[in-house]
């Protein structure tokens, strides 16, 4: 058996190291390390609660709106106020823009360049794929980056700037949108839809979302242009539906909260392969293999104190568990729990894997592009966008949202007008969790086991696909 270390693992957000034990050309055991710790939870302790709005988003420059919205949700829970309906809509529009930008960045800048690598030079699709997706040089970046920048103009209107905005407050958002701005927001959403329809799908979004089964998807793909169909052909050629299989357990906290519920509902895709209520009280964090001192397992009562010399530890990431189980989160979990027909069909056929994760991300992008248009039209321009904040009594509060990569929770305890404890469990904390005290690995660690690396060892591109299919955000992971 040989042990290999892969790092720096780039084209992910933040720092990542992966260690693999290889036996007969297959991964026998994987250890995933988050090699950066900054200490946001420690930094927030002792501060006025509203300071979380300025500091918590700065955990992550790629999903800062998600972090903002989670902090604002925890503070709203603490203040026991209702946000202005317009504020919730404006938050959803901005949050959708960030999540869609994340999905684009992942697909075009982080994930697809691996198929342009020399390792695939023998395939008949390689030349076209290299021309289109080669890192920094491919033609796709010239389409995707300007489209991303245009989409993020949503932030200039709603949030002032991106990343790291203070626009998202417990009571709503910090500026009212006027008629001209609504038209500008619609114009951005329309341009985004046009980009998706011309470049990504080569079809109307309604047609894409009308596909409900794997067979229909195959028929739709044949002979079609666009980058999604390009990916589907690569996925078939390389059997990506058999690569990086997940544990089968998935959850979503529910995404895009409005006054009458969520666009994508909350729930658990459980051991019976059915959608069940999510037992939130069963969330714990295990630190047996994290460089962290022992603390309460319940995030509402735990602390984060580094212990860099702890034996058997190999990551700054704690190991979150739901009812004692590792859980996969992300677009595939969100769309499965939401009952999206195509994703449900794909998951029922082959579970979670490299191909299905990417399909779920792009199908979700189509769904939120349409929702952005509807939310923008639903703004009632003469009504308030924010209700007033108020003082926070002592107590424990929680804010649960969905970031692009999955479920994000902020647990905050307040004593005497100061933050007594602040605990964050980010999506990649779930997906890239180290082992727990029962020696059960996190979803990525399990997904890597059994992967055929042949003679390529650390250079095996299959490993790259599996890791990036989760779209890891390592700066969120250990924060």
């Amino acid at each position: 058996m040989t042990r290999i270390t892969i790092g720096p693992f780039n084209r992910v957000e933040g720092d990542l190291e992966v260690r693999l034990d290889i036996e007969s050309g297959r991964v026998r055991r994987a250890e995933v390390t988050a090699p950066l710790y900054r200490g946001f939870e420690q930094i927030l302790e002792g501060r006025p609660p509203l300071d979380a709005l300025a500091l918590a988003p700065r955990i992550c420059g790629i999903c800062s709106v998600s972090q903002s919205v989670a902090a604002a949700a925890a503070l709203r829970d603490a203040m026991a106020i209702e946000a202005a309906p317009n504020g919730l809509l404006a938050t959803s529009i901005a949050h959708a823009a960030e999540n869609a930008a994340d999905h684009l960045t992942h697909f075009y800048i982080f994930f697809m360049p691996d198929f342009a690598r020399e390792a695939y030079a023998a395939h008949d699709w390689h030349a076209a794929t290299h021309e289109r997706f080669a890192a920094t040089r491919g033609s796709a970046a010239r389409d995707a980056l300007p489209a991303r920048a245009r989409l993020l103009e949503t932030m200039g209107i709603i949030a002032g700037k991106w990343p790291h905005s203070l626009a998202f407050q417990p009571g709503g958002t910090t500026r009212a949108i006027d008629l001209g701005e609504r038209v500008r927001l619609l114009s951005i959403a329309t341009a985004f839809r046009s980009f998706l329809e011309r470049i990504v799908f080569a079809d109307a979004l309604e047609n894409v979302l009308a596909i409900t089964t794997a067979d229909e998807l195959d028929r739709w793909r044949d002979g079609r242009g666009g980058d999604f169909a390009h990916f589907l052909r690569l996925a078939d050629s390389l059997a990506l539906s058999g690569l990086g299989r997940g544990t089968g357990l998935m959850m979503s906290y529910g995404a895009y909260h409005g006054t009458d519920g969520e666009l994508f509902p909350r729930g658990l895709f459980g051991p019976r392969a059915a959608i069940e209520p999510l037992p939130l009280a069963q969330i714990t964090e295990d630190v047996s293999h994290a460089w962290m001192r022992d603390s309460s397992a319940d995030p509402a009562h735990s602390s984060t104190i580094p212990d860099p010399d702890k034996p058997a530890a190999y990551s700054w990431c704690k190991a979150p568990r739901l009812s004692g189980q590792p859980i996969e989160v992300g677009a595939i979990a969100r769309q499965t729990v939401a009952g999206q027909a195509l994703i449900a069909d794909l998951v029922s056929a082959s579970g979670t894997n490299v191909r299905n994760r990417v399909i779920a991300r792009l199908i979700e992008t189509a769904r939120i592009a349409l929702a952005m248009e509807q939310w923008t039209r639903a703004l009632r321009l003469s009504e308030p966008f924010c209700t007033n904040s108020c003082d926070i009594p002592d107590g424990s509060y929680v804010g649960l949202v969905e970031a692009a990569r999955g479920s994000l929770g902020h647990w905050m305890a307040v004593r005497g007008g100061r933050i007594a404890r602040y605990q964050i469990i980010a999506p990649t904390t779930w997906n890239f969790s180290p082992r727990d005290s029962f020696d059960v690995g996190g979803p990525l660690e399990q997904a890597l086991v059994g992967t055929d690396v042949g003679d390529a060892g650390a250079r095996a591109v299959a490993i790259q696909h599996i890791v990036r299919s989760f779209d890891p955000c390592m700066v969120c992971t250990a924060h």
Partner: protein, 338 residues
């Protein structure tokens, strides 16, 4: 001559970072950042978020710089330098190298024509240095507002400049890109940097300049709570009159800025901004804001504020505490000659 000889070789690394500076600069360029770099002859040797090379291929690139096989023109760091625990840098290891980013920066910096701190973390320590600073985070050549940092006050890059600090959290894509491009033609001299190492083309302006709430500021007509239209300085913590940056002149994300977005400037281009508390509340002594413009006698400011408040038009006063325009500008009649 190989490609990398003719071009400007840039290496971008991330320390204790959120990745936000990279996310910001990806907005640069009409046909995308990668095209823009090529148009100006910039060769990105490696960037952790966008380059093809991963694992040992990436380490080989860094090693080739240390070995003197590849000329390094610009070394960029995004994120703080985490020196802890106990000066080992172990809070931030460069994956796969068994070596901390702190150590890598100490080794690489002497090879670089110029060293650029991308963002306030790399410049001064930034948000990871807030509160108890659990990781002993510092900037490359500053620790807050004190000179020193990871490389030390005496450090000068191969071409003789101290670290160039493109401060901001995150910095505007233009600040980063214009600094990089100006250095490709060696157009930045020591005299083009301010006392905190920031390029003067940014630092000679205040975030206040060009603020869309300027009329409210003139009359001290102030917003009292979030989402109101008035000036944010008196009650809601705005530091734009003290913070450098052309945020309100060039605008962000196609037309925004913090103050235009309805929330305070938190002075994210200033060393130590992360140490403030109650970011969205104005600190006051005897009812007078503590953080008045630094280059104006306080007594004058108070006298002028009282005078301008007494002269505030009804329109400005009422709009200041509303989230929509409640009193539009009056109709003016322009008399034309008969």
């Amino acid at each position: 001559m190989s490609r990398s000889d003719a071009m400007t070789n840039v290496l971008w690394l991330q320390g204790a970072s959120c990745g936000g500076c990279t996310m910001s600069i990806l907005e640069s360029g009409a046909s995308g950042w990668f095209d823009e770099l090529r148009q100006f002859g910039v060769n990105l040797l490696w960037h952790p978020s966008v380059s093809e090379e991963t694992g040992e291929e990436a380490v080989e690139i860094l090693q080739s710089v240390l070995d003197g096989k590849v000329r390094l023109d610009l070394l960029l760091l995004e994120g703080s330098v985490a020196r802890g625990p106990s000066d080992t840098g172990r809070f931030n290891m460069l994956a796969g190298t068994n070596r901390s980013v702190y150590r890598w920066m100490l080794d690489l910096a002497p090879h670089a024509g110029y060293v650029i701190a991308i963002g306030s973390c790399a410049a001064y320590g930034g948000v990871p240095a807030a509160g108890s600073n659990p990781t002993d985070a510092v900037g490359l050549q500053f620790e807050g507002s004190d000179s020193g940092g990871a490389l030390g006050a005496a450090f000068r890059s191969r071409l003789g400049l101290p670290v160039i600090n493109v401060a901001g959290c995150a910095p505007h894509p233009g600040w980063m890109m214009e600094t990089i491009l100006a250095l490709t033609t060696k157009d930045i001299a020591a005299s083009d940097l301010d006392g905190y190492g920031r390029p003067k083309f940014v630092a000679n302006h205040l975030a206040h300049h060009g603020c869309s709430r300027n009329e409210f500021y003139e009359f001290k007509a102030s917003a009292e709570t979030m989402s109101e239209r008035g000036c944010l300085m008196e009650h809601l913590g705005c530091k734009a009159t003290q913070a450098v940056g052309d945020c309100n002149q060039r605008s962000w994300n196609g037309g925004g800025s913090c103050t235009k977005g309805g929330y305070a400037c938190i002075a994210c281009t200033s060393p130590g901004f992360e140490g403030a508390q109650n970011f969205l509340e104005t600190a006051k002594l005897a009812g007078i804001p503590v953080g008045l413009p630094t280059d104006m006698p306080k007594a004058w400011f108070v006298a002028l504020a009282a005078l301008s408040k007494s002269a505030t038009p009804r329109r400005v006063r009422l709009n200041a505490t509303a989230d929509h325009v409640v009193v539009p500008p009056g109709r003016t009649t322009t008399k034309t000659k008969p």
